[in-house]
């Protein structure tokens, strides 16, 4: 059964450490070119097609800014 996922990043709280990016098994997350209110490049889901909702990014996020959604299709 195929699954589709999506993440929501609390952009203003993200510090752009990039730990979620290297731990994403499908390479769905990248750092933004623009910055948030604190001046950090925040992470966001670049390619929604790739996300499987595995929660790996959220598990390693030190600031717990990622919420993960998953749906079976």
């Amino acid at each position: 059964m195929a699954v589709r996922g999506a993440i929501e990043v609390d952009v203003e709280l993200c510090k752009g450490c990039g730990v979620c990016i290297v731990n994403c098994p499908t390479g769905a997350i990248v750092l933004s070119k623009s910055v948030n209110g604190k001046g950090y490049n925040y992470s966001y889901m670049d390619d929604p097609e790739k996300c499987t909702g595995c929660t790996n990014c959220a598990a390693v996020c030190p600031d717990t800014v990622i919420t993960v959604y998953r749906v079976k299709i």
Partner: protein, 256 residues
């Protein structure tokens, strides 16, 4: 399928624990402390013991831990968290008591306190965050600093001739009969993070069995102190710290 079809409350599979307060963490980007706070909050949430937990926060970067996790806290003088944990546990034997300490706090100024709490076998959990450096004060050498590692006070690298060897405090404490559970974990990858959480659940459960002290060392990073990016620091930790501080259970007599 649109993203708006996926992002719906009924499809939520991971969200911030309700025990983590909304206050923004003061830690540097990528700091392991944030991840460790998260697994503590999730552990307490999963065991549903929020009202029965008392945490002791240390001196060091995690001094403000009480601002982030919604449980009762007590702040200890530098290194004295285990002594305070003993007192609180004896006054409230039915509460879950844990200390949260860094390597400068636990392995340096507080060595006496931690050895004796383990020797008495008080039913408390010790969470020991080992990043091999004094992070808060500017990256000075700690007892756990690796040989050859450059810090603010060892600019040519630590030498055992002048500064001794990196202290394997978890192995030392595991020798004491009062310690029922001694383990070393990390939180650098999702798998390691989930394993660390499992060991934390075991440690909290073992408090109820009243068999002795449970000790969790978490090998972590201090990317600011090490002068690396967070991702580089995680790699450096795996390559350099794990050979000296290998992850895994050192002692487990909990029977859980």
């Amino acid at each position: 399928m649109n993203i708006s079809d996926i992002i719906k409350p009924e499809n939520k599979v991971y969200a911030k624990s309700k025990l983590l307060l909304d206050k923004e963490m003061h830690y540097c980007p990528g700091c392991s402390h944030g991840t460790i706070h998260k697994i503590i909050a999730e552990t307490i949430d999963e065991l549903n013991i929020q009202e029965q937990v008392i945490g002791i926060s240390p001196v060091g970067c995690a001094v403000l831990a009480y601002d982030y996790i919604d449980i009762d806290w007590q702040e200890a003088a530098h290194g004295r968290a285990p002594a305070l944990a003993t007192a609180i546990k004896r006054l409230y034997p039915d509460k879950y008591v844990f200390t949260y300490q860094g390597d400068g706090d636990l392995a340096s100024i507080g060595t006496g306190e931690i050895v004796h709490v383990c020797n008495r076998g008080d039913n408390v959990t010790v969470i020991f965050v080992n990043n091999a450096i004094y992070g808060m004060t500017g990256g000075q050498m700690a007892p756990t600093t690796l040989e050859g590692m450059k810090t603010a006070t060892t600019p040519k690298g630590r030498s055992h001739i002048s500064s001794g060897f990196p202290m394997k405090i978890t192995e030392m404490l595991a020798l004491l009969p009062g310690v029922v559970y001694a383990t070393r974990q990390s939180v650098d990858t999702p798998a390691a993070e989930r394993k660390a959480k499992k060991s934390m659940i075991k440690a909290f459960k073992s408090q109820k069995l009243k068999k002795g002290t449970s000790f969790i060392e978490i090998v972590s990073t201090c990317n600011s102190g090490w002068k690396m990016t967070p991702v580089e620091a995680n790699t450096w930790m795996r390559e350099n710290m794990f050979p000296v501080f290998p992850p895994g259970d050192i002692k487990d007599e909990t029977g859980l």
